[in-house]
Symmetry: C2
Subunit: 259 residues, 2 copies
């Protein structure tokens, strides 16, 4: 980390007008010089999508507390690529994504636009973090999440992390006074059991709406993000883009292969 004030790239997946990114910019601007590049509309559930079949439009945006801000028609991952390769003059020192309205703990990380943006930052050699409050309501009180973000950003600046660090930070939806602290942990195994509601549009055409119920598949383990969140801690999981299943790799090496 350079000695001057750090430059901080801020993005999210709920869109540039969301309350979460406003709070994040406010926190970030107390630590450094803030640049915002964020989607012009909500992009939740976008996973690590990038725009390859169309162009991306970019607009200047006035964002209180930011040195410069841009909204665009791209995905969260696009925003970070755009910032680094096109919009900013220098590579930022830190990349922050959020504050997301809804949990990105456990399996949710793979569906998360918030975390794909943070991961994209780390792939470009920028220590990054995505911050999510475990409550989907956009008008939810952000006090606990803001305090957690302050702690995390301070921690990132002072501990001089590796350039490829990417933190998945989830904040329990509890009062600040009830938070026990921050826990470093691993991603819990979990799954969504889905259900499709059948609706009809005005012209009578059927469409399906995805709903689901999440299940923690490691309820007894105490080193996971879901355990931390359920026990009053802010969870911090370092993630990376290596999806290799090494245990499975060992197992299938003995497979008979016909070629």
């Amino acid at each position: 980390m350079k000695k001057r004030k750090p430059t901080i790239l801020v993005t999210n997946d709920d869109g540039i007008t969301s309350r979460g990114i406003k709070a994040l910019v406010e926190v970030a601007s107390s630590f450094g010089e803030v640049y915002v590049v964020a989607p012009d509309k909500p992009q939740s559930g976008m996973g690590h999508a990038i725009t390859v079949h169309s162009g991306i439009n970019v607009s200047h945006y006035h964002f209180e507390g930011a040195k410069a801000a841009f909204s665009c028609t791209g995905t969260p991952a696009d925003c970070v690529k755009l910032a680094i390769y096109h919009l900013l003059k220098e590579k930022p020192d830190i990349c922050l994504s959020g504050i997301n309205h809804g949990s990105n703990a456990s399996l949710n990380v793979i569906y998360s636009g918030t975390m794909s943006a943070a991961l994209e930052g780390s792939l470009e050699g920028i220590p990054s973090a995505g911050i999510s409050l475990c409550n989907n309501h956009v008008d939810r009180d952000l006090t606990t999440a803001i305090k957690a973000t302050e702690s995390i950003v301070e921690m990132m600046i002072h501990n001089k992390p590796d350039n490829n660090l990417c933190l998945n930070i989830n904040v329990p939806d509890i009062l600040l006074k009830d938070v026990k602290g921050i826990k470093f942990c691993r991603q819990s195994k979990g799954n969504w059991h889905e259900f499709y509601e059948v609706h009809k549009d005005e012209e009578g055409n059927e469409f399906l709406w995805l709903t689901g119920k999440f299940e923690n598949l490691e309820k007894r383990e105490k080193d996971t993000d879901l355990w931390a969140l359920g026990n009053g801690y802010v969870s911090v999981v370092p993630i990376n883009a290596d999806m290799t299943a090494f245990t499975e790799l060992d197992r299938i090496k003995d497979w008979k292969v016909k070629w």
Copy 2:
């Protein structure tokens, strides 16, 4: 695997009309009963996106060689969820995604709609595989990819894999006679160096088009998918949804945390 003919769910990210999925259905139907649920339009680069802000329309589709087929307005991951939770009467025995027109080796896996569909299958307890030919041209000869797919599906049926197995299979763009075999390997570290082309639409509005150049960051390692592909092998990487960076987790556990 049950003794009756296996049921095979087929999907992709290039859309239900693509040449790749046609070839995949043809291979799959020689092994079992095939059901197709695929996007109605190309969905490349969609990562693990799911549709949470709108409904999904589903249509019956006539697909030669399939027992039943549906196209939908959802993403590749949506297709697998839809198949399992809404469209099919029974959980399929195997889920196959592809044949993708373009590499999903190395870092490409995180941007890949093809692989998100396969991963979704494995999360639902169905041994799954995504198959990609390392050439982006949709009219490219598929002979080598078809032979690789046959070998892989036979391998999956005969080796009775774990239900959560997900294979990322990439096929080198070389003549069948030049293929040396199949290599089980890990995902190579890589990165995209991006570049944005600036264009103007008919009304003079500027838009940006993403292009990039891929770099293998582990050129000397011989146990990676990129090494296998570069040396005449079909690469097979088992993947999972656990993104925890365990090495980083060990490292940051000593961080000073202020709360």
